[in-house]
Symmetry: C2
């Protein structure tokens, strides 16, 4: 593409808009101690897990109710000042960064479960509750919420980025599991986007429009989710493979046969080594699939046998099993800590994460060429993937004081993304666009589709106050 | 609500916009014999399965390619003339009616499968292919597309109304099974809304915005769908119950236990009588659940045993089985012909169909009170439901020459919808809003959410040429 880039991959364009003293005063009057301008508080709300460093927001409002959010947005709207919703700060692509200044609206105190409807397998929560807290609360009803991006993210944040993670191969993503939202619009109005009915054809799908909109179309204040009955039986298995390709071919067959596998994760041999060192495990240091099966005892056994047969065909070892909850938790915690294991393996480093997702038949092509490129680069990296979905993550471990490493990592990511797009995939399976992938979005969706997104944004937020400068520039 | 009604339930507001001769001339020049102004052709494109009678469109363009659609829309846009996409004409809520005049764009000749990716379980089709033709074509690959609204609708039409039907309880709706679209915008531009990747967090979910937008935001020209491996084993079972409530309680338990039932349909005793007469069957004339189980032979057996146990608890009879494809087809055809069976039972009648969907715990409340009201009204009706989703349809059989019957049926529907909304449900599970449910949409979604829909519509279609007057008035 010859069109000018939306942004610089190495440093986002910061264009601070004025935050008038009158607004700060009005917020302090309305919110008292719920509004902070302390530098430490602002700095904590001015960063996420991305590599970018920009000035913090001018103030933080700790919202405790929908009315608080509506009032904060209304006041900000009056002064055309940006507002940025904040959950726990675990996003990876700069979503929370106040690149145009403004106010952070922290919803972490809005962390209540408003109603559990066990009979209907639905729950309505406030956006600040984290997925682990939610699961803890519904466990005694025999229910769970499957979406698991690894981090203990807030449900609001997971909606905003259309998160997914390890269970998506069976249970879908946030796209599939949000039934309805309450949303504060750019004018401070409160609307509802759906009901508790499992399906509906009632007008435009505003729920799905909001899910994945990264805070640019509204601030979510209530979220109704689907829950699932805790499976009668759960088993986790590890299977080691001689090559990444053998592991990937196994996954392709599992999916094509329609085995209802609940989790299917790839960890490459090098990352297994890092995980062993970090989590004090003794996993066989080969490429591995980490899998989980849910269902009745008979169905879990049947699934596992089918998958073991497939794996053997491709040279996979005998499964190693984790059937007790403790063993499973240990394994999955190790998997989720792969990021930290990797980062700690190179002291002082930062990880540049990739997030492409391709049709599963192209997974081997996408992965193997990118592994070859990463190996040739000399940059240390880790590799994990929700391969049942065709989604995988490289994390390039760079020294933040060496711009040439940062540039090289971005170059590897660029090659990976464009390869994935050529193979019919997407530049982001679950992390979102944020500040980091705007050019990739244009390459993927085309100028026409991005123009449509911009048109919707301008119509719903004419003063561009809702998390401006994310997904695309206006 | 005291706000003025969007429309009259008994007769839609017809406000014909001018279709200049210059446009007709330009269409004839561009399209030759692919453009027809013959009255019979226009009349065929000016009606659907709804009860409304309005003047036909001024011309019909038989599009054969994306470029044809783009050119037709571009020409119409130049004259600010409405365009209405047309598949097979099976919509129920007046979606196809040219209440503001304009041009029908018939996409039935765009009925090709563009690519099947069996490894990825995806297929890309043109919008005019019907679901049966699609299934016929992918069967030999061991694949199927599960969404089954009964009618042999076009895939484009099914996208437009966010259709679902009998398999949705397991496989979801069109919302869940469309991966990507090619769409012609109101300006005649061609955009793409996604990739073949199973999941993505790349910007606004334009695919989901288009699915269910009833032709008001764009004309779909290519559709990428998820496919599923044909189950190894399929069994259908009938179970009769002494009361509707017993049947519904059984369904609630099935869903709550997480049994992956593929189909779960309620047919009330009266409708079973009509079906027997029409399809020459000898089903036991009691309230019944018609169910289908998909999976491995062991899993199908396990599911069936679990469900049989639950049904017995609620007084259900022993299952009657249909295991051969022929028996199953006969049963499901009978189910799908319930509508025709009912309509033929009262010669000359028309059916006013309802389509509410409630959280499953409220299904018995919603159904039983509505049955009592319908019984008391004296109007003959049929009752079928995708009860696994909480979705059910009354069809009130009215004499179209008796406005008092029409009015009474609308009154019953009104009561049913408002009851369902009070119970946390939606006014339409799968048929869409069209002309008929605009007031219900406002009652359900609220003025704020409908205003947001209108804002999006105005932004994407400023001259209101895409199927105007549907979903809401502008």
């Amino acid at each position: 593409m010859n069109a000018p880039a939306d942004h610089d991959h190495l440093a986002p364009a910061v264009q601070l808009r004025e935050v008038p003293d009158a607004l700060i005063g009005a917020l302090q009057t309305r919110f008292g101690t719920q509004c902070s301008t302390a530098l430490a508080v602002r700095e904590q709300h001015g960063r996420d897990e991305s590599i970018f460093d920009v000035p913090p927001p001018a103030a933080v409002v700790f919202a405790e109710s929908t009315q608080d959010v509506a009032d904060a947005v209304t006041l900000a709207a009056r002064h055309k000042v940006p507002v940025i919703p904040f959950g726990v700060g675990s996003s990876l692509e700069g979503h929370l960064l106040a690149i145009q200044g403004g106010i952070s609206i922290d919803v972490s105190r809005m962390n209540q479960i408003l109603s559990v409807n066990a009979e209907d397998l639905t729950v309505t929560v406030q956006p600040g509750i984290t997925r682990k807290a939610l699961n803890e609360a519904v466990k005694h009803e025999g229910l769970f919420f499957p979406i698991d991006p690894g981090a203990d993210a807030s449900i609001g944040g997971m909606c905003a980025t259309r998160a997914s993670g390890t269970n998506a191969v069976r249970y879908g993503t946030m796209r599939d599991n949000v039934l309805a939202l309450e949303v504060v619009t750019a004018r401070g109005e409160v609307i509802r986007t759906g009901t508790r009915a499992r399906k509906s054809s009632a007008g435009y799908d505003l729920t799905r429009l909001m899910v994945g909109s990264e805070g640019t179309l509204g601030v979510m204040t209530e979220i109704t989710l689907r829950l699932y009955p805790l499976p009668e039986a759960i088993s986790a298995a590890i299977c080691s493979f001689p090559t990444i390709e053998a592991a990937v071919r196994t996954v392709i067959q599992i999916i094509q046969l329609g085995v209802p596998i609940a989790r299917c994760e790839l960890i490459d041999a090098n990352t297994v080594r890092l995980v062993n060192a970090h989590s004090k495990l003794s996993l066989r240091e080969q490429h591995m699939l980490l899998m989980e099966f849910h269902g009745s005892p008979a169905s879990v056994q049947e699934q596992a046998e089918t998958v073991q047969d497939i794996a053997r065909e491709f040279g996979g070892n005998d499964f190693e099993w984790a059937t007790t909850p403790e063993e499973r938790t240990r394994l999955w915690t190790a998997r989720h800590h792969a990021y930290f294991a990797a980062v700690q393996s190179r002291p002082g480093c930062r990880a540049i994460s990739t997030d492409t997702c391709v049709p599963i038949s192209r997974l081997a092509d996408a992965l193997l060429d990118s592994v070859a490129e990463a190996d040739a680069s000399g940059i240390p990296y880790f590799l994990v993937g929700h391969v049942g979905d065709g989604n995988f993550h490289f994390g390039y471990l760079i020294d933040p004081d060496k711009p040439e490493e940062h540039r090289l990592a971005e170059q590897l990511n660029h090659q990976l993304v464009h390869r994935s797009l050529r193979l019919g995939g997407t530049c982001t399976g679950e992390h979102g666009i944020g500040l980091h992938k705007m050019d990739f979005l244009r390459a993927e969706a085309g100028d026409g589709a991005v123009a449509m997104m911009r048109t919707i944004k301008r119509a719903l937020d004419p003063d561009n106050i809702l998390n401006p400068g994310k997904i695309f520039t206006l």
